[in-house]
């Protein structure tokens, strides 16, 4: 690990000043000289790998005093960005009214990492692409823009089949983000000029021609909270992986339904493990709305969700697997007792 200067921010103002002091417009957020440290589970890992090389670290954990509250009321959910994954997963009202959120957190990482990692850091975790994580590979457009992509014709079993570009096929590895995007969550961002709110769906950027730019966050900004409107008791997160526990998704689905008298009045489907960014399957949702559920519909919805998917040498199986995950998640959601 390279050396860095360290400071602990005792309040948001101090944190933003410290991060802004080192911010320049020319570098993407992940390359900014000053990086915030919360749980550290991504940052320290990538610093040890020499993938991230901040000159300065700003420990923002003291901000948890004001940024870690979980408020679940009748009209919505508000999650402080510095809440720990384990605390939110175990929150009774989150489990009751937003099971897709609780499940996505509970099925992620390990108990130790969930005790450390915060929600804000979780959504910003970086891809597990082995070529990105191994700096001995020079050709990674995310690390070295313009250098090429070793994964394209490499071992790409874990890579994405949706949202890819000819520059990058790295999978977005998280789970919680799929729950947020399915529920039309908003993300609250705090910067030097105040706090702004935007749809969570606008946070992550598909690789396109600039895979080094992963989010629309600017250097010097911090995620302070996530909010969700309404309640979603008929929702779940289904995650299929190589191991039963403590593994990244090969394919996952965040599903939320509103069913009135047997008719689906609202439907949300988001996909994980298969896309470069948290992926909302809107074509699939459109097929569900206003319909009665049956297995044939589940099949058509699953087909629609992967209609634009493109596999490469080792990851084509994710398309077939992903369809089954969508169909099964929908079947489980329709029949769950709420």
């Amino acid at each position: 690990m390279r050396s860095f200067s360290y400071q602990k921010a005792t309040d948001p103002g101090a944190a933003l000043r410290a991060l802004n002091a080192a911010a320049t417009d020319s570098r993407p957020l992940t390359e900014a000289a000053a990086q915030p440290l919360a749980g550290g589970t991504t940052l320290l890992d990538l610093m040890k790998l020499d993938v991230m090389r901040p000159a300065s670290i700003v420990n923002i954990t003291p901000l948890a005093r004001t940024w870690s509250a979980v408020d679940a009321g009748v009209d919505g959910l508000r999650l402080g960005a510095l809440a720990k994954m384990s605390d939110v997963a175990a929150h009774p009202e989150v489990q009751r009214s937003y099971p897709v959120v609780a499940d996505s957190l509970k099925l992620a990482a390990s108990p130790q990492l969930r005790n450390m990692a915060t929600l804000g850091g979780n959504v910003l975790q970086r891809t597990r692409c082995s070529y990105f994580r191994d700096v001995s590979y020079a050709n990674c457009n995310k690390r070295n823009p313009g250098s090429g992509c070793a994964a394209m014709d490499g071992v790409n079993r874990m890579h994405a089949v949706l949202g890819t570009s000819n520059q990058c096929i790295a999978t977005y590895p998280g789970d919680f983000a799929q729950a947020l995007i399915a529920l039309d969550a908003m993300v609250e961002i705090t910067g030097a000029s105040g706090t702004r709110s935007m749809p969570f769906a606008q946070l992550h950027k598909a690789p396109g021609n600039s895979p080094q730019i992963e989010t629309s966050l600017q250097p010097g900004e911090l995620i302070s909270a996530f909010t969700v409107s309404g309640r979603w008791p008929r929702s779940l997160y289904l995650k299929v992986r190589d191991r039963q526990s403590y593994e990244f998704a090969l394919s996952s689905a965040a599903v939320a339904l509103d069913v009135q008298d047997g008719v689906i009045s609202d439907a949300r489907v988001a996909l994980g493990g298969v896309a470069t960014v948290p992926w909302r399957a809107r074509e699939a949702e459109a097929l569900l709305k206003g319909r009665r559920f049956d297995d044939g519909l589940a099949q058509r919805v699953a087909e629609a969700a992967f209609a634009d998917a493109t596999g490469r040498r080792h990851n084509g199986f994710k398309i077939a697997l992903g369809r089954r995950v969508v169909a099964r998640a929908l079947q489980q959601a329709v029949t769950m007792e709420i």
């Binding site: 690990m1 050396s3 860095f4 200067s5 360290y6 602990k8 440290l37 550290g40 589970t41 320290l44 890992d45 040890k48 790998l49 000159a55 420990n59 954990t61 384990s86 990482a109 390990s110 108990p111 130790q112 990492l113 005790n115 450390m116 191991r243 039963q244 526990s245 403590y246």
Partner: protein
């Protein structure tokens, strides 16, 4: 009858030797760094050591360390507490699991600086004098290890697993112990050990 219990402290002991060797290796490293600084004043950002006080197993320990030092390295390399193991050093194996406050964390991804002021409990702090913690005893009773490298992390994780209320069934134990990898695959016996110790730990 001769008293054998005290004699082992005087003889050769692998753990004492390893801990001592690790400690003595520090001096040349520090000296080399200082000499380099004297020769070439500023090549890159200077790495000045920082003062930090860690509370480990109920005792305040004052350290002067590099800001990059993790809790794991502080324990093993600076405090001679080599019970916590370095497996992957990337938060993937769980061998370095310790408790910070009442929570299990991986000490390899926790900076010592960010653990300042927190209560750190390691495998060395679990027993009460010569009396083993119920989880330590259960691992022996159930033969829950082979090579033993992952065991300190398994035991620290298991203690937290029980206290969190996640040891109610074998399925729960397997799910909530999944952050600790055992390359010898002693998993069935680890599950048995957690089941054995859970009631005693919950009774307090």
């Amino acid at each position: 009858m001769p008293d054998k219990s005290g004699s082992r402290h005087h003889g050769f002991d692998r753990r004492t030797f390893m801990a001592g060797a690790a400690g003595s290796a520090l001096a040349p490293l520090t000296a080399r760094a200082a000499a380099q600084d004297a020769r070439s004043p500023v090549v890159q950002d200077p790495v000045l050591p920082v003062d930090v006080t860690l509370r480990v197993n109920g005792e305040d320990r004052h350290l002067r360390i590099d800001a990059r030092t993790t809790v794991l390295d502080a324990l093993r390399e600076h405090l001679g507490l080599t019970g916590s193991k370095k497996g992957c050093d990337h938060g993937q194996c769980g061998a370095c699991t310790v408790l910070i406050g009442d929570r299990r964390v991986v000490s390899c991804l926790t900076l010592a600086l960010s653990a300042e002021g927190r209560e750190i409990t390691t495998i060395e702090g679990l027993a009460s004098g010569e009396r083993l913690h119920p989880m330590q005893q259960a691992f022996i009773d159930q033969d829950a290890f082979q090579c033993g490298y992952c065991t300190p992390g398994q035991i620290m994780s298991a203690v937290a697993c029980v206290k969190e209320g996640h040891a109610g069934s074998e399925a729960d134990i397997r799910e909530y112990m999944s952050g600790n990898i055992c390359r010898c695959a002693a998993y069935p016996n680890i599950v048995a050990a957690v089941k054995q110790a859970a009631p005693e730990i919950m009774r307090g």
